[in-house]
């Protein structure tokens, strides 16, 4: 009886944590892609907003009915923002921290402004459920793992595995990592540092934008101001937690999503342990950020104390502009 209850609670938590973390997974993969080639884009919060608002505009104003087309439009918009960022930091070698924060601020401002007249409008172009292996399992397990949008499977399975394969199993991926670790050496063997940095930071921005598009097309599914609400920053933290490894990033994002849906579940069911129900809800709303903070600190702390941790260091040239003249 008790086992059934715990199992039930766990499965329902998972079934809500998976969609809640999808945004973070996508943004984290987007960040990771740029950071592997040495470009730190702190503007995730803005990219999620831009991706989201243009998907909403596509559906509500331009009358796009396919969610995939709306997703592509959101990604393209975020990609254009990413291109502007990349030109400033790669071509002009401006400070990645400053321009990244500018993108975060400007992106939030732009998306909220564009979304002003579309607040709370239902976005009527949603993904249909894609029940993977639906006939094999049933009940709670199916609800938890196999009854989500197709985008969820792309974000959790396809993208991380593909990125892992490219980064660690192909020559192209080795070149990418070289650009992030030692751009001068990569340049010397004929890898174009400029183009790979621009290309992958634009692609990464588009994937982060897909996170915002997923939010408005499926998760909420409506536009509300400040749509990212810190998820972009969490995604940046998740990349650190994951030690710049794509598959681990998925688990980092799930940790956030679990804490997030724990708060929602507690609120919905009126749980009250330690505090009364209202106070518990407030406390739990702080938890996703606190847990993310602890998650970044743990690997670094373990490495200092002397526990053997597989390489968790940032790409050596992360956030350092590359200039041939300065080698």
């Amino acid at each position: 009886m008790i086992f059934a209850l715990i199992e039930n609670g766990f499965l329902s938590l998972i079934s809500s944590a998976i969609p809640a973390s999808t945004v973070v997974v996508l943004a984290a993969i987007g960040c990771l892609l740029g950071e592997r080639v040495g470009v730190l884009n702190l503007g995730q919060e803005g990219l999620i907003g831009i991706g989201g608002v243009y998907s909403v505009i596509a559906v509500v104003t331009w009358g796009v009915s396919s969610p995939w087309v709306a997703l592509a439009i959101g990604m393209a918009a975020a990609g254009i923002a990413g291109l502007m960022f990349a030109v400033a930091v790669v071509v002009f070698r401006a400070s990645q921290v400053l321009v990244g924060l500018a993108l975060a601020l400007g992106g939030i401002g732009l998306s909220n402004q564009l979304g002003t007249n579309r607040n709370g409008v239902q976005v009527r172009a949603q993904f249909s459920e894609f029940s993977l292996g639906g006939s094999l399992v049933d009940g709670g397990v199916r609800e938890a793992f196999f009854a989500h949008d197709p985008v969820v499977y792309v974000a959790y399975v396809f993208l991380p595995l593909t990125l892992w394969f490219i980064l660690f199993r192909t020559r192209h991926g080795m070149n990418m990592r070289a650009v992030g670790e030692n751009p001068a050496a990569a340049d010397a063997v004929g890898v174009s540092v400029t183009w790979s940095r621009i290309g992958y930071s634009v692609l990464g921005a588009a994937i982060s934008g897909a996170g915002g598009a997923y939010m408005v097309l499926s998760f909420t599914p409506t536009w509300s101001p400040d749509i990212a609400r810190g998820r972009g920053w969490v995604a940046l933290a998740v990349v650190i937690f994951a030690g710049w490894r794509p598959v681990r990033a998925v688990f980092g994002a799930l940790l956030y999503g679990t804490m997030f849906s724990l708060g929602l579940t507690a609120q919905a069911r009126g749980w009250g342990f330690l505090f009364n129900a209202t106070d518990l809800a407030f406390f739990l709303s702080m938890l996703p950020f606190l847990v993310t903070l602890v998650a970044i600190l743990l690997p670094a702390g373990a490495a200092k104390i002397g526990k053997r941790v597989r390489s968790t260091a940032a790409p050596a040239a992360l956030a350092i502009p590359y200039s041939r003249e300065e080698r």
């Binding site: 702190l42 803005g46 400033a88 002009f92 070698r93 401006a94 400070s95 921290v97 400053l98 321009v99 924060l101 500018a102 993108l103 975060a104 601020l105 400007g106 992106g107 939030i108 401002g109 732009l110 909220n112 402004q113 002003t116 101001p225 810190g230 920053w233 969490v234 940046l236 933290a237 650190i240 209202t278 106070d279 407030f282 406390f283 709303s285 702080m286 950020f289 606190l290 993310t292 903070l293 970044i296 600190l297 670094a300 702390g301 490495a303 200092k304 940032a314 200039s323 003249e325 300065e326």
Partner: protein
């Protein structure tokens, strides 16, 4: 025929770099004006309305001064950390926690006003530095990047204040639904003004002290050395980790004190959502514009505070707060590009050839 090309400077002059940063910010504002024009808003009218709102009355000037206090405090906090090339993006959270602690003291301690206010200030200093303690320890001893850790705590602080204002410190008597109790104590008023208190003097005193520290003391020199090259500083015998910890705790304390000072502003004697009002981010932009120069922070802070205030006034006339965010983003980009522009100079290709001839 002479053609021009860009050449890298070997030494970047700090004065030139400041000028190009300011130029970058101004160009960014011009771009913002053009964008506003193109989207059907009269940016000249916005500019004149803004100027009128500021200089049209004493209330306008006091309004700017009131906004300048929190902005200058967070900007000084960020500027201090920038001297060490450390990015404290969590000044908004430290600001809130300073206000939170000061409010806690203010509504629970009874005593003579001056004593309670001093206790409030001390509580704010401690709370601000405690809020950055974990990121500071992690940065100093575990080499964990401080950008994300300080920023994540902003969200926690905002949630905590929401909790306080709706929950444990909620004002049950007032009609306002979401707000804490009011602090009954207020700093002494500045003579000759309607709304200003001696809080206005604090950022100027702190800026002067910091300016002196960096100009004339060993510790200031050590911090600048670490900012220039931490490895070299370590070889020179400076305890880099301890200096990082010290500086980060001080930045938190300054931002926290800013939160306490804000409690004396009219209409802000209680905490609620919107108390922080993006002062942290605004201060960050000021510090980036000033590039860590304390006197530059004062000038830039007053400039940005004027914009902030004009934005608030124009908001009542239909200019959305989101547009201000967009303009901030543009300004920050302009500053970042301006910083780079100072590193290059235009040279005539003909001159280069002749100088080579001299060399051979």
């Amino acid at each position: 025929m002479n053609t021009y090309r860009l050449e890298r400077r070997l030494d970047v002059d700090t004065k030139k770099s400041a000028l190009t940063r300011i130029a970058g910010a101004l160009i960014a504002m011009a771009v913002a004006g053009i964008v506003l024009l193109l989207t059907g808003r009269n940016s000249f009218k916005i500019l004149f309305d803004g100027l009128e709102a500021i200089f049209g009355s004493q209330r306008g000037l006091e309004g700017v001064a009131l906004r300048a206090i929190p902005i200058l405090m967070t900007a000084l906090a960020v500027a201090l950390s920038l001297r060490m090339k450390i990015w404290n993006i969590g000044s908004g959270g430290q600001f809130l926690m300073g206000a939170f602690a000061a409010l806690g003291v203010g509504i629970h301690v009874n005593g003579p006003g001056w004593l309670v206010l001093i206790l409030m200030a001390l509580a704010a200093l401690v709370a601000g530095s405690l809020w950055i303690l974990v990121p500071a320890l992690a940065r100093a001893y575990w080499d964990v990047n401080e950008i994300i850790t300080t920023l994540l705590l902003n969200f926690v602080a905002a949630q905590l204040v929401t909790w306080a204002s709706l929950g444990f410190w909620r004002d049950t008597e007032a009609a306002v639904i979401q707000s804490t109790k009011r602090v009954p104590y207020r700093l002494a008023e500045l003579p000759g003004t309607d709304s200003l208190t001696i809080a206005l003097l604090v950022p100027f005193v702190i800026a002067a002290v910091l300016f002196w520290i960096f100009r004339s003391t060993t510790i200031g020199f050590e911090i600048d050395t670490i900012g220039g090259n931490p490895r070299a500083a370590a070889f020179a015998g400076i305890n880099v980790r301890r200096r990082i910890l010290l500086v980060m705790l001080c930045t938190g304390a300054i931002a926290g004190l800013g939160g306490m000072l804000q409690l004396s502003a009219p209409g802000a004697r209680q905490l609620g959502p919107g108390y922080e009002a993006q002062f942290g981010l605004t201060g960050f932009i000021v510090a980036a514009l000033a590039g860590g120069a304390m006197m530059g922070v004062l000038v830039g802070g007053i400039f940005i505070a004027s914009m902030f205030f004009a934005g608030l006034v124009l908001q009542t006339k239909g200019l959305s707060v989101y547009i201000i965010f967009g303009i901030y983003g543009l300004i920050l980009t302009g500053v970042a590009l301006g910083e780079i522009a100072a590193r290059y100079r235009l040279v005539r290709v003909g001159d280069v050839v002749s100088s080579e001839r001299v060399a051979s």
